[in-house]
Assembly symmetry: C2
């Protein structure tokens, strides 16, 4: 599939999934305690603080699209995947809410984060409410224990990934205790890949897919997550702020242990020692970016991302799924990562 085709197909897939899932998602959020429901609606971009009409936009809705495509991959209509889509969007929003508290992030999608707008305590509660609603949504389907085992495993992985991400910040740039690229990959699979894999797999379970399809979609989603995270890291250093919406060198300025930096620090390059000095002294991020590039960090990151895209495609290639669903899944994969590689 060409990049051009994906650029046309993927937004269509995302749009029709959003339209399919939104009524059920709104209905679920509508069952929450009104105050908690307002915080949930705010974080979905449906309203402003106080409940007034929204001027914000929500996220792309990648997870709900994967759940819908998972059901279609099982040969079922996309609507069979809707409860899965609702559950994973609720879990995703829960994790954004709580991660923003842990990371101290004050803005998301150009608006104050929930803890900034409503206070830390209420934001903790809103996250808990979304989490509970996700479990309730799935427990209310006829999907049975397999679906809840998938969801709870990915919840455990989310926590594991976030724990490692927080702990990475406390570790040194150099020496035996430094963070290795392999540790980063495990963290990214847990923090980002697990829920993407779960989204597609859950949709497939609700669509009645055989275990091989469920496992294959889970694996593809996990690789997609790792690739996506690495590409995000590369854009965070060398991306055009006009396109990414993020400040130039923001990740470097915050001292984040992203994949390109870790790969550069792990490389046998003369630039590495200099890079360590710059990072330890929180020196000029532009200099750090150049040294990471010189030590091969950007090249290594892009190569690793490509490996995960190829692995995701390989996981899909062998599956007995309808051609339309396979095409849509590949277009989503292309759209999310390949255009930037």
């Amino acid at each position: 599939m060409t990049a051009l085709t994906s650029a046309v197909t993927a937004p269509g897939v995302l749009g029709r999934s959003r339209a399919l899932v939104r009524p059920a998602l709104k209905e679920a959020v509508g069952r929450m305690h009104p105050w908690v429901g307002e915080m949930a609606a705010y974080s979905f971009g449906w309203c402003e603080v106080g409940g007034g009409p929204a001027v914000a936009s929500g996220g792309k809705g990648v997870r709900q699209a994967l759940a819908v495509l998972g059901a279609e991959a099982a040969g079922a209509p996309g609507r069979a995947g809707v409860p899965a889509a609702v559950a994973v969007e609720l879990v995703h929003t829960f994790s954004l809410l709580h991660d923003d508290i842990m990371d101290g992030d004050a803005a998301r999608r150009r608006r104050p984060t929930v803890w900034k707008a409503y206070g830390t305590g209420p934001a903790v509660l809103a996250g808990d409410g979304l989490f509970a609603l996700a479990v309730e949504t799935l427990a209310g389907t006829s999907a049975g224990p397999a679906a809840l085992r998938l969801l709870s495993a990915s919840l455990g992985d989310l926590v594991r990934g976030q724990a490692d991400d927080l702990l990475f910040a406390t570790r040194p740039w150099a020496g035996a205790r430094r963070v290795r690229p392999g540790e980063y990959l495990a963290m990214a699979e847990h923090k980002t890949g697990a829920l993407l894999g779960c989204s597609a797999a859950l949709g497939a379970v609700l669509g009645g897919a055989p275990p091989a399809v469920v496992t294959g979609l889970d694996r593809a989603g996990r690789h997609l997550g790792v690739a996506f995270q690495i590409v995000d890291d590369v854009l965070g250093i060398w991306g055009d702020p006009e396109v990414t919406g993020k400040p130039v060198h923001g990740d470097l300025r915050e001292g984040k242990k992203t994949y390109p930096v870790l790969a550069a620090l792990d490389a046998p390059s003369p630039a590495t020692a200099h890079l360590v000095t710059v990072l330890e002294s929180a020196g000029d991020p532009a200099v750090a970016a150049a040294l990471i590039d010189e030590a091969g960090g950007r090249t290594a990151a892009l190569a690793e991302a490509r490996r995960h895209v190829a692995a995701a495609e390989a996981a899909l290639a062998g599956l007995p799924i309808p051609a339309g669903a396979a095409d849509d899944l590949r277009s989503l994969l292309d759209f999310l990562v390949c255009r930037d590689l």
Copy 2:
């Protein structure tokens, strides 16, 4: 059953339940991310910060005992209820962790709370990890969707109750927007009763009980929770600090909207207007306590608690459950609330 019998029986029931459940609970917590697992172990009273041996004591373990007794009420051995017991203790500990953040409470069981000891972000994460583990524990049993529907409904109720509790603090003492005793009762049932009811009901489901037993135990647990909460409120105002371990008039000093205060404010008593003035100006708590008593707040609270104890006993009385389990359940009920009435 006499108070004396309960005082002997109930600690025995709590002790044998703890012994039965602890290995499975330790095994579950042992599967967590090590850092998150340490925070969990700290909050169970198993270790100090850094993982050193504990000098603290954990809670009484009422919820795990109810789950074990729920299984026995179904005619199954108590061990059939162990996965339910693990799940509800994990949920209870999750809710304590997050509530302490929301309420800004710095101490629990004479130790720093998790957010005080490890930081707010890590405490949010540890709560999430416990929550995820609870769902995973139950999803891993053969209990099926009924068990997960019970758990997720009580999770939703926990969030609803905590939301109302937080909002009560923002409302005035007098006038149309004041908190009514009925609103308090709904809050207490959600915040405390739902998980107690769920504990016994889940144990019964795992023990293979018929729906009437599951529903009856759920109802009994909910009434127990409301009674327990009201008795706790009474002790928070008039209890002996030597016995309760709480500071004299602590709840009044913090301006908490507890049942005795709300009942006093709702009473057609000449003391009410004076009480409003004292509360609005955060005046002498001893004066407030005397006025609450004068307006009938203490009497009304104890009567309401007795009504819920009677309702819990009535819910148990009609159930086709073994006499031993029924006796143990009643002794627990007596031990937790009746001794103080």
